[in-house]
């Protein structure tokens, strides 16, 4: 299939529609659509873009879409992929928002929401566990985890402030390493 704006849009629109229950199913979906059916990119490239999508801020599904879209057809492809990915989310939420006010007062809807709220708690736990496995690799990263946790949960620091602090810490750590290495060379 040709990598035109419309085809890219259509493919990502399909992926966006099938993307239920958070972004975790995106990798198998993209695998089947992009690698197996369309043969637009290969398995290794997809995994690389997915990993890169996680090392950039923002929604991972959207990040991956922009990476793949750009690779397929430059800026045009990126716009097609991103809009295809977000449009189903946008439309379904607008429809839900319209009926939300009327149904949210019904007792059985409240009960379902209450239950799903507990389910979301479980998904957050699983997400934290998954992120923990990938990110806590030594004592320092473990310390960073707890500092971020305490700043946010205990001191109610704005999340953006915590992230900015983390970025500075990352730069400072690398700077220290560089200084040390230069010291060794002398």
């Amino acid at each position: 299939m040709e990598k035109t704006f419309y085809n890219i849009f259509k493919t990502f629109f399909k992926v966006g529609t099938l993307l239920l229950g958070g972004g975790y199913v995106i990798l198998p979906l993209l695998q089947s659509e992009l690698v197996e059916k369309r043969e637009w990119i290969d398995e290794d490239e997809l995994c690389e873009y997915y990993a890169l999508g996680q090392s950039v801020p923002g929604v991972i599904a959207a990040n991956t879409a922009v990476f793949v879209g750009y690779k397929l057809n430059k800026i045009k492809g990126a716009i097609a992929a991103l809009s295809g990915m977000t449009l189903p989310a946008f439309a379904s939420i607008l429809i839900m928002a319209k009926i939300m006010d009327e149904i949210v007062h019904l007792q059985f809807i409240k009960s379902i929401f209450w239950g799903v709220g507990i389910g979301v708690l479980m998904l957050i736990y699983l997400a934290v566990k998954e992120m923990w496995k990938k990110s806590i690799v030594d004592k320092l990263s473990c310390l960073v985890f707890f500092v971020a946790f305490i700043l946010s949960a205990g001191l109610k620091a704005p999340p953006a402030a915590v992230i900015i602090l983390a970025i500075f810490l990352g730069i400072w750590l690398q700077h220290q390493k560089k200084v040390e290495q230069e010291g060794l060379h002398k």
Partner: protein
Amino acid sequence: MIYLRLFLEFFHIGLFSFGGGYATLPFLYHIADAQKWYTTQQLTDMIAISSITPGPVGVNVATFAGYVTSGILGAVIATTSVVLPSFILIIIISKLLEQFKHNKYVQSIIYVLKPTGCGLLAAVGIDMFINSINLFGMILLVCLFWASLTQKRDPLFYLGFSAIAGLIAGFFNLT
């Protein structure tokens, strides 16, 4: 100017949330406190809805928050602003892909950002847990936890199971 504030808030979420999916939640809870556009109860409902509708949760909640705040135009602005930083950043990174992957500073920043994003999400989880749990909720959570130990399951399994459990609990007035 509500539209400008919507743009700024959601653009900064797109720029700073790190770790994907639920990583936007700490920011959305912070907005609920700071801007009063929606209550934390509404946000919890929104998260529940976005878990059962298509699309990434971060985008879903942005659309929802924008709509609740100022209608369709608000929804368009919030949704666009939350993905705009991704778009700009990745176009730049794609051009410099090799340098980006091998840059020591980038690697060092990512090394710190990963546990940070994880810590922020854990903080949201604890907050939600304290605010929403009761005895039956605890039992349900233990069941879900037990189910996760026996085998890896689809997120929809947990959501479907808890929706049904919620219905039953509501019937007996346990929620």
